[in-house]
Each structure stands twice: as structure tokens, then as C-alpha cells.
């Protein structure tokens, strides 16, 4: 039950984009088409779960044992960047169809602060391994959901009769604000 509550809160109530305002760069930049949004969401899911597991292991097996907990930020940044490079390398080599669909997004994820947020949150909230995995999957699911919804709205807005001063990013910002308001209404759900 607690895992379910954690999952629902990470996806809807404490959504990483609309509540915590992290990962805004891909949210604004890679959300013009639903296909790109889904590709980005898939890549973020993969990296977020993998990076969460890697950082969890390194924190508990290395940093905690050597009394170097203060180094979590710099170590996690290096681990996440290395993980993304490794993922891209493996996908290029062994999974070309997968590289075709989401490989191009991987360099964008290296600097996605949402990934670092999840890694740090796993430690600060003292999650165990299962909770870490659930939180990573839920956060990336919430990220993908919002990205997909936003891209679907933007596709329609591109065809709509928007006043000239609002075309493009201004109307996108207004839509994002309205979505954040809508999601904040889910606060009492869990």
C-alpha cells in the first residue's frame, strides 16, 4: 500500500515537472510532437531507473562505508553522466533499432536535473532498494505523462487561431501553468 501511495504521489501529486519544476528544458524543447515526447519519456525512464540503482549502490557500498556522504552530489553527477555514456554505447553497438528511436535523446538527459533529483531524493528520504526502484519508475512515468499531454496540446495549438503575440512559447507557458494548476488539484488524493 505504501509503495502504491509512493507511486501515485510521484506520478500525479508531486509530479517532477508540474510540482517540482525540474526537467523543464526537455519539457519546453522536446514537446512539439507526441512521437518525440514519447521517445524522450522512454529514454528518461531508462536512464532514471538505471541511474537510481547505480547511485543507490555507490552511496551505500562506497560513500556511506568510507564516511564520504558529503560527496554525494559530485559523485552522482559523474555516475549519471557515465551511465548515460555507457547506455548510449551499448545501444549503438547492440540495439540499433532502439538507438534509432531514442538514442538521440540520451545526450539531452545527461544534464536533466530530474535524474539527479531522483538520485538525491532516494538518499535523503532513506528509501530502501524497492522504494528506490518504485520512486524512479513513478517519477519517470509522471515525466512521460506530462510531456505527452503537453505535446498533444501543443500539436493542436499549432493549428489553432492563436493571437500572434502568444504564438509559440508564450501560449506554451500559459498551458504549462494551467496544467500545473490542474495537477495541484490532485493534492488530496493520497
Amino acid at each position: 500500500m505504501e509503495l502504491l501511495a509512493l507511486f501515485i504521489s510521484a506520478v500525479f501529486i508531486n509530479n517532477v515537472i508540474l510540482s517540482r519544476f525540474l526537467g523543464i528544458c526537455p519539457f519546453m524543447g522536446v514537446s512539439r510532437k507526441t512521437s518525440s515526447a514519447l521517445g524522450m519519456g522512454g529514454a528518461v525512464t531508462f536512464v532514471m531507473v538505471g541511474a537510481s540503482l547505480s547511485t543507490f549502490a555507490i552511496y551505500h557500498l562506497v560513500l556511506d562505508k568510507m564516511d564520504l556522504q558529503f560527496m554525494d552530489l559530485i559523485v552522482f553527477i559523474l555516475v549519471i553522466a557515465s551511465f548515460v555514456q555507457l547506455t548510449e554505447l551499448i545501444i549503438k553497438r547492440f540495439l540499433p533499432p532502439l538507438y534509432r528511436s531514442l538514442g538521440i535523446f540520451l545526450p539531452l538527459i545527461t544534464t536533466n536535473c530530474a535524474v539527479l533529483f531522483v538520485a538525491l531524493q532516494n538518499i535523503s528520504q532513506r528509501f530502501n532498494l524497492v522504494e528506490t526502484i518504485v520512486f524512479a519508475i513513478a517519477t519517470s512515468a509522471g515525466f512521460t505523462l506530462v510531456l505527452f499531454l503537453f505535446s498533444a496540446i501543443r500539436e493542436r495549438l499549432d493549428l489553432a487561431d492563436t493571437p500572434l503575440p502568444f504564438k509559440g512559447n508564450p501560449i506554451a507557458m500559459i498551458v504549462a501553468a494551467l496544467m500545473a494548476l490542474a495537477f495541484s488539484g490532485l493534492a488530496g488524493l493520497v
Partner: protein, 58 residues
């Protein structure tokens, strides 16, 4: 000392993976992949469309 050693090891791992990744050839058919980025105000981002324009000095 241990902290510096750890950072050096991780930086070395990252550098090694970076070099290996860039030496790995891109699969056939994937040479012209681009992200459909509409562009925001962050022109320093390498994905910004202004970088793709000829004669761009950014």
C-alpha cells in the same frame, strides 16, 4: 585523500566511456537523426535550431 581518489576514478571512468562512445560508429540509417526541438531562449544549448543555421556564430 580518499575523496580525491574517488573523484579521480569516477572522472577516469567517465572519460574512458566518453572516448569509447565516440569511437563507436553510429548504426547505419541513424546518421541524420535530429531532435525536433522548437527552440527556447537557451541559445547555448547545442540542440537549439540556431546552431543548425549556416553561418551561425553561436
Amino acid at each position: 585523500m580518499e575523496a580525491l581518489l574517488l573523484i579521480a576514478i569516477l572522472a577516469g571512468v567517465y572519460a574512458g566511456l566518453y572516448v569509447l562512445n565516440h569511437k563507436t560508429p553510429i548504426p547505419k540509417g541513424c546518421e541524420d537523426l535530429t531532435v525536433s526541438c522548437g527552440g527556447c531562449r537557451l541559445t547555448s544549448c547545442e540542440r537549439h535550431p540556431t546552431h543548425l543555421m549556416e553561418g551561425s556564430k553561436i
